[in-house]
Symmetry: C2
Subunit: 138 residues, 2 copies
Amino acid sequence: MTARETEPFELDEAECLRLLASQPVVRLAVSVAGEVDLFPVNHVVDGRDVLFTTAPGSKLVELTVHARVVLESDGWDDAEAWSVVVKGVASVLPEAEVARAETLGLESWSATPKPVWVRVTPTRVTGRRFARTDGGRA
Amino acid sequence: MTARETEPFELDEAECLRLLASQPVVRLAVSVAGEVDLFPVNHVVDGRDVLFTTAPGSKLVELTVHARVVLESDGWDDAEAWSVVVKGVASVLPEAEVARAETLGLESWSATPKPVWVRVTPTRVTGRRFARTDGGRA
């Protein structure tokens, strides 16, 4: 392997969205009054948007106060690692769109009822893939 | 399984740190002037602290501007899922402590030189584990 091959390879948006859709969990970061919070959520990719559900609780309150959010997904095997970061704007899905959202195959792992659908509309989608230099020891 | 068993089970700090140490990647969220950023990093647990390395670049700049950070780790199998969130204060490790840090077994996957060690000292460590209600279909 040459030194060049171990450098990060920037992924295009289609590949980022494909990788995002391949994972059952995405991490959601929000900031309220300078305080960051970070949650794992089950999600589904709908075109360029990322949808998830929530209870009428803390996550939703934070999203309402500060609608800019960041989502992250990653994965690895012995040879390489990748990560995708989506910056976007969160909004509660209008009631008229909920029926269609419910056909998208979102699998929530939690027993907590999460009737509120949230859509994240990306403003920036970035991703990278790189060869692991440790040879998969970790 | 009873309804009660599917409710989230809060993990104590020792279990949170054990789970955090079992993973090769943690997600780091920082906020600068209200804008959140989110990065996956290779980390190592040192007592209650979490250490990682970085290049003298964007992550480090952000940490310097706003030293409060959040770390997240998660995992799942067909039966259950868990997540751990650490809120803490980041600081650059003093030069005198770097030699010891280098014995802790951190495996960085990236070819990018990352000579700067950062320590996150937790102010709050929380975690939960719950049975997956989807039966591991996702």
